[in-house]
């Protein structure tokens, strides 16, 4: 029994609410429950127990970015395998934006995610899908599934009727030191530089394909809790010289998927070169 005491202590620390284990130091909390609503996602995307809730937000809070990070001398190592997480937003009762009379955001992003998964598989890039059917997953579960995958890139897919081309958003959190345990609500702050680089990589490829790009930072759940380089990719109709190509256009969807796949492949090349 005495020999098990340190293991038990580690498990309790990892299960502390309000913290999340960063990559390379995964939480030892059990993570084998099925996703909500009985809809299985990809095998690597098993959800942790949904009873673990983040701490309540208190007011006034100067900024999530200013929340103190836990002191730890040892930064986590990067993942040993290049894995991409695709998180199609919304689902189930949450339809997201209504893109046309018969098309909702939740359906379009699921279609795009599935096609992107196939395109990446063709390049031998493993993908974890957060949802593969029309289910409404809480943001907490999405973050847990994403963090558990220990991915090298986390792409959240959204769609809107406003603007033109593609909108790339990273978290508005300012950087915090990389530690083994990160505050749940501001964990993405430790990955801010990598997320900005990933966003820049995607933007460069999109521009090469003549797709208008806007880049920005925003406060978006569950992006702020992701412990990986994370970008929210929002697709919009393509407007060129007054002519709008709708999101329902298959050729435009192909362009978007191919460009995203090329960007992620480029990101993989950069990732391999990193020490």
């Amino acid at each position: 029994m005495d020999a098990l005491a340190p293991l038990v202590l580690i498990a309790l620390l990892a299960a502390l609410p309000g913290t999340v284990a960063a990559q390379g130091k995964p939480s030892s909390a059990p993570a084998a429950a099925s996703p909500a609503h009985g809809q299985p996602a990809a095998p690597a995307a098993a959800a942790a127990p949904s009873s673990a809730k983040p701490p309540a937000k208190t007011l006034p809070a100067p900024s999530p970015a200013q929340a103190p990070a836990a002191e730890h001398p040892e930064p986590p190592a990067r993942p040993v395998r290049f894995v991409v997480v695709l998180n199609p937003a919304h689902g189930g009762a949450d339809g997201g934006a209504r893109l046309s009379s018969q098309l909702y955001e939740k359906d379009l992003v699921l279609t795009l995610a599935e096609r992107l998964r196939i395109a990446l598989a063709a390049h031998s890039i493993p993908v974890t899908m957060v949802r593969i059917s029309d289910v409404d997953l809480p943001v907490l579960n999405r973050a847990q599934m994403t963090d558990h995958a220990r991915a090298a890139a986390c792409i959240t897919l959204h769609a809107t009727t406003s603007g033109s081309g593609i909108h790339l958003f990273t978290s508005s959190l300012t950087g915090i030191p990389m530690t083994s345990f990160l505050p749940w609500e501001t964990a993405q702050g430790a990955y801010t530089p990598q997320s900005l680089r990933l966003s820049s990589e995607i933007g460069t490829v999109m521009r090469h394909d003549n797709i208008p790009v806007t880049q920005g930072r925003t406060a978006l759940q569950p992006l702020d809790s992701f412990t990986c380089p994370a970008v929210a990719v929002e697709v919009a109709p393509l407007i060129h010289s007054g002519t709008a190509t709708p999101l329902s256009d298959p050729a435009y969807q192909n362009r978007l998927v191919n460009a995203l796949a090329a960007a992620i492949e480029q990101w993989q090349q950069d990732w391999k070169k990193e020490p």
Binding site: T160, T161, H167, G203, Q215, E234
Partner: protein, 203 residues
Amino acid sequence: MIPRHQRVLFWILLVGSVAMAVVIIRMRERAHDRMLTASDTMPLNPPAQSSAKSVPLMIANDLTGGVHEEEQEMALPADPNARARVILQHLIADYAQPASKHPISPNNGAENIYFIPLPKQDGDAGGVMAVVNLSGSFAAAHPSGIEPETLTLLSIIGTLRLNFPQLTQVRFLVDGQPRETLAGHADLTRVYLASESPGVKHL
């Protein structure tokens, strides 16, 4: 036979009762008139001495994915809370125009804005938090999407910051209640720093 003094007493009491009833009815009518005057909901006329002045607004543009400064003429009340409300109503009315680059259906917009002084902390001069209470109709009519929602918040925060330089933080409510998102995306549960510069750029 009723004695004479009893008949006199009867008539005196009857006349007294009628007189008291008339007085009570009259008092009730006057109280009713006072209540109606107090609850008059007709809009007040703008103050005659208030002249229109140029006010900077941060206008969002969906196509460029950014916000830019524009000046508009408007008459403003002296009270800071009322002034902020009028400014935001002009801003949101601008988005309801047919040629708007950030279209939002006409609605009430900002119901109220309250300025709350923040306590001074160690090495911090304190500051002011603005609590912006948006109407439910505004949130319901707002286009759904990360970019349009983020631009709206940046536009409101930037406009308040330009007109109230002492502002340090902004918090959003909808119909007086905390809400997860504006229209499904932008997080309304957090407190925004007024110094946060517009974070969207066009490439």
